[in-house]
Amino acid sequence: MKRWTWMPVAAAIAAATIGCSSGSQPTGGTATKPGGGKFKVGVSIPAADHGWTAGVKWWADKAASLHPDIEWIIEDAKEPSEQITDLENLQSQGVDALVILATESAPITPIAEKLHEAGILIVNVDRGFTKPVADVFIEGDNKAFGRKSAEYMVQKLNGKGKIVVLEGIPSTVNTDRVAAAMEVFRSHPGIEIVAQDSGYWNREKAEQVMQNILTAHPQIDAIWASDDDMALGVENALRAAGRDKNIWILGGAGMKDIVKRVMDGDPLFPADITYPPSMIAVGIQTAAGILRAGKAEALQYMPKHLMIDVELITPENAKEYYFPESIF
């Protein structure tokens, strides 16, 4: 439960909702529908195509196992039409609630709207819908992710240096991060962006892209990689080219391998920024809490939008963010 300290707001809310239920023990086995029987909740998430989504899957399984009194069905999808199929199958199984991390925002919105109209509680995590069809929307603060990481980079470079910007999968998450970071970089004329490209939040793609960038630019001071998988790809490229000195990488998301290296004072990884995949667990906890308390009652006070703060991990505080048993 230590990890909840990252998300004080959400944790407080989740705790409050559970507190309203008949049993405040998560394993109480007391949650039953008004008509009797177990609640059934579907969790629909993207397939694990990179470390972060693998972390989402891990946290989803873990969080669901804390509530054996509810029947959980966890499905993952490679792309939107597969996710729509999953959601329809879950509906036909009679779920009371759905926790959805969309593969993509717009394509999942119409089906989410239909499911919401059919009376299913919708908790949306991370990638938002394009219309307000979720009962609760939980996301990380991606603008803060971009801003805080860029500010750190500018500060560490003393406002002067040549940097590379790597972007992720085209999505609102990526757009918010990059736009916020670029705003910071542009306001410092000493910062020169020598290259900007997409590594799709993927280690191999980031390595390829970085190899090409390295051959084109003899002088690079730092890489804003925006993701820990990409950061590791960049590191491979740097080592292969013998350019791993006097250069550093800023990833993002708080992968345990990177956090460990920040903690150990590795010069390549002076810092990292959190974007916890455990936010899916917050979604699961929230759905469970709302169902236990009674949907109509709980929704009277549940905020429709919860924003999880992101934090800079430095050697000083890295210990608090290091979870060796986590998959990510």
Partner: protein, 333 residues
């Protein structure tokens, strides 16, 4: 034993379908017979199904079309751009939706024709030509969508995706009339049409002739090139139709993700259905059952709570077993 072999060769896919169905009934009882679930079984993969019908004909000529998945994204992207352009004016939304459908169909047809023309007249292997298409069509879609999704601004567009014909007397779990979706209706109609084309027309015999022995077909005065151009063009057109209904259901198109792996699903359905990858032999109804079987596999894994990480293994095994049953039987011939 031999008769069993022949039976499996012919109807192995139906045996598999019935078996999987039974497995679901065991776990979920008659609840699994809800009309809604049965409806979903036909409609969920109808997009790939529509494409798989064309793919059946392509494979029967001894070819393959790997470009269909990417083409879904391209057709959908052009369709939505047209939709948003024409539909900007409130009064013309119906026209906009119709034109979006036409645009999607047109792009698919042209792309399919280009595939077929290059294969037939450029004498390049279908695998190579459509592999190029797989790369190029996706890339064009990404250019149009600036790498992301293109959202429709016409809210009523999604009614094409969720609309259809109500099935008299049947209701969903929450008591709404049960709607048989347009894309599922199209899937079945197109299957009937293709089945007629294949079994009752000279063109159908030509498709079989080209696939069985191209040179012999050529000497028998079959215009083999025209047959090839036609099957790829038809597949392209069907892909355009699938893209139209899919983008309507999502009221948008993800240019990076729409249609991803559809070529593989379509090929899997065709092969499971008993069409030979070597060409010359195939059947439309087998493909239809193959599509439903793929959907049923997914549903079964949901039923049994198979950890999603394992689902690919199960899917692969079912595909392999279905084909081995038919293959093994054939060896006995």
């Amino acid at each position: 034993m031999k008769r069993l072999g022949v039976f499996l060769q012919e109807y192995g896919v139906i045996v598999a379908l019935v078996a999987l169905f039974g497995v679901n009934l065991l776990e979920r009882g008659t609840e699994f017979l809800q009309p809604e679930i049965l409806r979903n079984m036909v409609s969920q993969n109808a997009y790939t199904g529509i494409i798989a019908i064309g793919m059946t004909l392509v494979i029967m000529t001894g070819g393959i079309d790997l470009s269909v998945g990417s083409l879904v994204a391209l057709c959908g992207a052009v369709g939505i751009i047209v939709l948003n352009g024409v539909g900007a004016n409130e009064a013309s939304t119906t026209l906009a939706i119709a034109l979006a459908g036409c645009a999607s169909l047109a792009v698919g047809t042209v792309a399919g024709f280009l595939n077929g023309f290059t294969i037939a007249y450029g004498r390049v292997a279908p695998f190579i030509v459509t592999l190029a298409g797989l790369a190029a069509f996706r890339s064009l879609a990404l250019v149009l969508g600036n790498g992301g999704e293109i959202r429709s601004t016409v809210e009523s567009y999604k009614e094409i995706g969720f609309g259809g014909i109500p099935i008299p007397g049947l209701q969903t779990a929450v008591g709404d009339p049960l709607i048989f979706y347009w894309h599922a209706i199209l899937f079945l109609l197109i299957a009937c049409f293709a089945s007629f084309l294949l079994n009752r027309t000279a063109f159908g015999r030509h498709v079989i002739a080209v696939g069985a022995n191209e040179r012999a077909a050529h000497y028998s005065a079959v215009n083999t090139r025209r047959v090839k151009v036609f099957v790829y063009t038809l597949t392209g057109a069907l892909t355009g139709i699938a893209a139209f209904t899919l983008s309507a259901k999502q009221n948008s198109i993800g240019t990076g993700s729409a249609g991803l792996y559809y070529e593989l699903d379509a090929i899997a359905a065709v092969v499971i259905g008993g069409t030979s990858l070597r060409g010359g032999r195939g059947r439309i109804w087998g493909t239809v059952v193959g599509v439903v079987l793929l959907t049923l596999i997914t549903a079964t894994m949901t039923t049994y709570r198979v950890n999603t990480n394992w689902q690919g293994v199960v899917r692969g095994a079912v595909i392999l077993i279905a084909v081995l049953l038919q293959r093994g039987a054939r060896a006995n011939d």
